[in-house]
């Protein structure tokens, strides 16, 4: 059955879509992936560069579909570069000969096979290692082998897998169902110790399964959904690694591929925004107004998180000024649909600060605090908590869920980290203004019992802590607390600061005091 799934997926994927899972297959087979062209763009004919187990560098060029003679002639120049030009990469000694591979998820015609054979004799004077061909049949076999035994076994898991695949792909990603499915693949349930090799294998399988599952979203170019899917998978890899204390070398390649796939999705989203000429409106005009502010908030958060990601990696990013313009022009349209909007708005505020827009940044957080204390400090339903994603929250507050009786007044998950955010910026005036209303809302936060459960969609063990804001509150004590070192944040997250903005958006229920302190500290250290 899995063969059919892989085959179907592979047939419909383009070279960009199967690049990351192909890297995972190579990695599972013992090659070290040292380069995967980040934008899918061809560089010297090499989409993927690896070092094989025998220390020989390998260069792969990926193509989609059947290659006939006409197609071969069209790509001949690129293939020449792939074979003849030596690999130029810091990890490969200059002049070291490489093995060139042409990979296609389709088939290659016999005429082309003959051409390759004869051309290999010509190329020999530049590179004695001949061009090798990998076609769809071999790819399917290698993909299936890379899964090992880490495949959905129970009928319900397999059915869930198929349902995730056939999901239309144009709506928000079903993180809950996907997480539940991943828990059947990544070994986090057993209490017995799992070997590092098995953690690595399960991570590799999770990467491949994610590729199959997001194909519908990719077809629809639903970049936000693709981004969320990859971050959930990356988090589950961290969960397994943290639970079994697995050394980094066993899982880091899979984690990095997830992060790369998530970054690519956001880069595509950013590109779509850059090229947008409809003021970010979309679809039926009669219904778009209700969701427009939510879309703007999501865009502000995701684009800011991508910019922060590059900053945290000390990388220059070409769209930095676009994000700045977007935030300055559109943050007035931002809407707080619920507490799961808090990380989005905070990422936007942190990014605005990087452009010197401190007043706008604090105003944005002030707006969020105002909304929380107004709605959760008085009678009524209150603001949906962070366990409600944007669509669920909008449905709830618009009366589209008449049978859901959940109330949110009296407490807030995001309020305490936001208060600390303002305190760290010495916004005493704003906090003085709010404090009376802040005291009418309890600070709430979930504390997973063990570090690894931080990375699960829902932790099984842990405590939901409610605290009353102090009456009165000493400014000096508040400032002191806000400047304290981050606590309770898992080391695997603290050690990956560039992953934190993404994790905060996708797991808004983990956005708390420790998380925000940790993220801000990382940004400060790199500024």
């Amino acid at each position: 059955m899995i063969e059919r799934v892989v085959e179907n997926w592979l047939t419909s994927a383009n070279e960009r879509q199967y690049q990351i899972p192909f890297c995972q297959v190579l990695s599972s087979e013992g090659e070290t992936v040292i380069y995967a062209s980040p934008h899918g763009a061809l560089e010297q004919g090499k989409d993927v560069i690896t070092i094989a187990a025998d220390r020989v560098p390998c260069a792969y060029q990926l193509k989609a579909g059947r290659i006939n003679l006409k197609g071969w002639q069209a790509i001949r120049g690129e293939i020449d570069e792939l074979v003849e030009l030596p690999i130029s990469h810091p990890s490969v000694p200059t002049g070291k000969l490489h093995r060139p591979y042409l990979v296609t998820n389709g088939a290659v015609s016999d005429t082309v096979l003959n051409r390759i054979e004869s051309t290999n004799r010509v190329w020999k004077k530049y590179n004695p290692k001949p061009l090798r061909l990998i076609q769809s049949g071999e790819l399917v076999t290698r993909f299936v082998r890379a899964h090992g035994s880490f495949l959905p076994r129970e009928t319900k898991d397999f059915s869930s897998f198929l349902e995730l695949i056939v999901n239309g792909g144009s709506g928000p990603f079903d993180k809950e169902r996907f997480s539940s499915f991943l828990e059947s693949i990544v070994p986090i349930r057993p209490s017995t110790h799992v070997l590092p090799r098995d953690v690595g294998r399960s991570a590799a399988s999770a990467v491949l399964l994610t590729s199959y599952i997001v194909q519908g979203c990719e077809r629809e170019q639903n970049h936000w959904a693709v981004f969320e899917a990859w971050i959930v998978t990356a988090s589950y890899i961290l969960a397994a690694a943290s639970k079994h204390r697995t050394p980094v070398k066993w899982w880091v390649r899979s984690f990095d591929l997830c992060e790369l796939a998530a970054v690519r999705a956001l880069e595509s989203l950013c590109q779509e925004c850059v090229e947008n000429h409809t003021l970010f409106t979309q679809g039926d005009p009669f219904t778009d107004g209700a969701f427009y502010p939510v879309r703007i908030t999501i865009l502000a958060g995701t684009l800011s998180s991508l910019s922060l990601y590059h900053r945290l990696r000390s990388e220059k990013w070409e769209h930095e000024s676009f994000v700045q313009d977007f935030l300055l022009a559109h943050t007035k349209r931002i809407q707080v649909w619920g507490e799961s909007a808090a990380p989005y708005m905070t990422m936007a505020a942190l990014e605005l600060e990087q452009h010197g827009a401190h007043a706008r940044s604090e105003q944005l957080i002030g707006q969020l605090v105002e909304t929380i204390v107004s709605l959760n400090g008085s009678k009524g339903r209150g603001l949906p908590n962070p366990y409600y994603d944007p669509e669920s929250a909008v449905r709830l507050i618009s009366g589209m869920e008449p049978t859901n009786p959940e109330l949110f007044t009296g407490n807030s998950y995001a309020l305490e980290p936001l208060v600390e955010f303002l305190a760290r910026r010495l916004a005493r005036g704003m906090l003085t203004h709010f404090w009376e209303r802040i005291t009418r809302v309890h600070f709430t936060g979930f504390r997973p019992a063990e570090e690894w459960e931080w990375f699960r969609w829902r932790a099984e063990n842990g405590s939901l802590d409610h605290r009353m804001p102090n009456t009165p509150q000493s400014w000096a004590a508040l400032l002191d607390a806000a400047e304290n070192a981050p606590s309770d944040v898992p080391s695997l997250l603290r050690d990956r600061p560039s992953f934190m903005p993404f994790f905060g958006l996708v797991f808004p229920h983990r956005f708390g005091v420790g998380f925000l302190r940790s993220l801000e500290r990382a940004i400060q250290e790199r500024s």
Partner: protein, 201 residues
Amino acid sequence: MLPDFPKSRKELSEKLRLHLRLRVQGKSPWAALGREHTQHEGRAFSYEQIIDESKRIVETGFEEMVVPIRFEFKDIPDLVGEALFRKLDEMADNIAEQTSQLGQRRLNEATQLAGTAIDAGGQPFTQELFLQGESARDWEFNHLTGQQEGVYIAHPQTAERMHSLWQEWEKDSAFMKRVAELKARKYEEWRDRESRRKLVD
């Protein structure tokens, strides 16, 4: 399997659950007045209690409530309309009773700890007992109207008795003067508490 309609049944089930919940709230003041919080993950929770002006953290977990329900296959086909709502009402009675017992138990524990619990020891409800009880607790007032806020929870018979007693006591000017003095004092205490909701140096 036999022909079935899971999607619609799920929707119906949600509506019935909501009905049940509202019935429980109608029967138990603890369910109606208590602050609700739905916990989405984990098995424990903690909250703060103020004892003698200082905070204490209470760490606790969930308590399971069990309502036994018995269905006979032969009855299921007719479990619609009034019969269905009768069944739900039976469940609501049971849940409401357990909720009230739990609420009462937790309140007793908290008031014992805070020293605000008063045991009449089986003696009749008197003016002194009333004033003693009122004076032991914090009063809340409405910010806009200045009216005292709060709800008395009592057994229906006790509530009736309290009501008739109050009608008698209202005619006692000396007692009402003491009530007015107490209210003035409690109002000042409330204002004092409210004035502390601020950020200071």
